[in-house]
């Protein structure tokens, strides 16, 4: 009688601990997932700002760089590709294919942008243009903000991924379908830095 009751008590307590662990672990995973998703929206805002600046920059440069039409078109194409890749990534941050797409689109865009900046060096008139100067300044600052926000996002993704891989939370992660989140890396090491702008 009494042992039976103690057994019930022990079962209740054990059940309680398991329940609390499940709730706690699940909530932690949700919080960490929200955190990295939120971190992406910080990148998103700055990327959009950058995508808005680029056409203005091209428009300003057009008058000076008439013989470099190819580069200018390449910038616009790369920018448009990045815009659509970002739309997809913003809808589902951390998703492997979306993140790979935005990573490569951003790498490509950074590549052509640095080519454009290098070209601009050869045109003193363009460099002296005040609109161009303020646009480039604006772009550099936005670029810095993007990479800062990207660092925060990657930190958040790492924390989340670690949490979902360690025991015992990994059991919960598998049961409730918490997938691996993908980092946002700019692939080529030479382009990791924001394009250098010198006046």
């Amino acid at each position: 009688m009494i042992t039976g009751l103690m057994l019930i008590g022990i079962i209740i307590l054990l059940g309680f601990f398991v329940l609390m662990f499940v709730i706690g672990g699940y909530n932690a995973l949700v919080t960490l997932r929200n955190r990295y998703r939120n971190a992406y929206s910080q990148i998103d805002v700055q990327l959009k700002r950058r995508y808005d600046l680029i056409p203005n920059l091209v428009e300003t440069a057009k008058g000076y760089l008439q013989h470099e039409r190819g580069t200018l078109e390449a910038v616009i194409t790369a920018r448009n590709a990045a815009v659509s890749a970002n739309t997809r990534a913003a809808q589902n941050p951390g998703d492997a294919s979306a993140m790979k797409e935005i990573s490569s689109a951003e790498s490509a865009l950074s590549g052509v942008m640095s080519r454009l900046f290098a070209l601009a060096e050869a045109y003193p008139n363009l460099k002296a243009n005040t609109t161009m100067m303020s646009l480039m300044e604006e772009l550099t600052s936005t670029e810095n903000k993007v990479s800062f926000a990207r660092q925060a996002y990657n930190d958040a993704v790492m924390t989340y991924n670690t949490r979902r891989e360690v025991f015992p939370t990994n059991v919960l992660a598998n049961t409730f379908n918490f997938g691996q989140a993908e980092l946002f890396v700019i692939e080529k090491p030479g382009q990791k830095e924001a394009p250098k702008v010198a006046f």
Binding site: M1, V45, K145, A149, A152
Partner: protein
Amino acid sequence: MDFFDRQDKARRNTKLLVFYFALAVLCLVLAVNVAVSLLFTGFTNYGLMIRNLNPVSSANESSLPGSQVELLFWVTIGTLAVILLGSVFKTLQLARGGSAVAELLDGRLINSNTTDADERKLLNVVEEMSIASGVPVPQVYVMDSEPGINAFAAGHTTSDVAISVTRGCMKLLSRDELQGVIAHEFSHILNGDMRLNLRLMGLVFGILCLTVIGRILIRTRGRKNPLPLVGLALIVIGWAGVFFGRLIQAAVSRQREGLADASAVQFTRNPTGLADALKKIGGLTYGSRIQSLHAEEASHLFFANGLGNSLFATHPPLTERIRALDPSFDGKFPYIVEGLISAISPAPGAPQRLQQIRAVQAEAGRFAAPFISQHAVVANIGQATTQHLSYAADFRQAIPPALEAAARDPLGASGLVCALLLANEPSMQQKQLEDLATGTSDAMRDETVRIRPEIQGMQLQAKIPLLDLALPALRHLSPQQFEQFRAAIKTLVASRTKADLFVYMLQKIAVRHLDTYFLSEQRLVTQFYALRPLAPDCGVLLSAMAYAGQENATGAYAAFAPGAECLSHAARCEIPWLPPDQCDLSHVDVALARLSQAVPQIKKNVLNACVQTVAADGVIQEGEAELLRAIADTLDCPVPPFVQLQEASAPALAED
């Protein structure tokens, strides 16, 4: 009743609450015991008991009571353990502060640099309220899956507050109505209701636990299995516990809601805004109902009833609340449908009124250094008024766009804080910037350099509000980035050759508010109930303030004396006067940390003494006033900005 009295009252209410709950738990344990003894001894020994009635049989008489006592002992232990564990679990879960509650109810953190018009409007309203009341800008969440109109503020202290509104609240309310709702929530923050509310949530959950376990047990199967019966009993008893919990929730909450409505009106001086918001709740099909599964636990936090009207309503009836604000209310609610409302333009008079105020303020030279009467300072704490609110709206308008954009972005906000801490001398500045680049990154230094010129033109008075505005964006730093940033700004302040108390306090404000967010274990509990053990700390603080305000030692002592005198009276001992090397920044740091653990009335005395010290030469200058605000902030006492009082009689404001 001033800020400190209200804080004290909230603390007393907490004790009452704990007493109520002890009572409820006692009732629960008794109920479980009765139920279990009925179930086991009652049913299984039914035959035995019948025989016991027969005076002839005496063989079982001695064994029965003994086993029953032991049984009941274990049942009691078990019940208490479940309630205790449940409460501890929930309290730990809520230890992270307001954001934990907001996330529990499926809130989504609004980005500090959002471009969505509705979210922007909401953030602007919250920012204005923050500047007006001196509370750092809280985190703002929106509950996307809630169509009703409701909102809540949760947190332990002013640095971990989260304000959360439903989608309906954000989309359906006009700016004035939203302002009314947010002002109501800020009143909760200033009245010290939030901490009480979180305690309540933790305790109620412990009792709710019984029901949860009961639900699980009831599903077990098997012949002659008593578990489902136990489960059923636990559910019934658990609900009895929830009944007690709700009763107390309702009792504590109802009167505080009325108080918050009243302070909200005092704050915005616009009862129609709040009344219209309440009317919209009445007219909306969803009303103020919250659909989340956790609504029950948090029902006492909300702006309006989250669970529909009942005996246990946590808020007074809508019509009653509206009539208190608008006596002409006829009881008919407007018909509200989501989707239509966005087409309706905001209340017509509002923009003109704002413009009028602005015109008058421009004439009066609003940002000129104010002259402050020394009695107004402590009385003002936690008492924001319409003047503060219009000051805040004006201040926000006056911020250059570049600075505003910076304050909303994590990197920009970090740069902004660093720029605030830079020294004025060029050579010193150069060294600081180099330190910054090595401590963090080149990008951070560039950002600081970019922002610095924008800040240089600003008044001293703008520095604390700017810092407050930057806080939400800084919470978007990753923990690693925060670690770097924290170390960097500490170095920035330490590397200055001449110690500047105000700059140091700025850094302290930033670090303190962000630490509670990033390192949640740093919460301090109240430890000091008397002033006497804090006398040396008061000495450090007052001496440091006296040196900061005066050129020479004699002047400094003259400033120190009145402050010390008013404190030594209260402490019944001498407040030590210290040489400069014993009250430098590191000593001040320790002293403030200890003082912040005192009960509200002690803080009031200390702040009063600080006012006496800075006012010793007859006037409180702008720099001294801002230093006071910064010190009050570290003691968790929000001081509204010091606005010029003569504007109360300005024509545009006199009309309402």
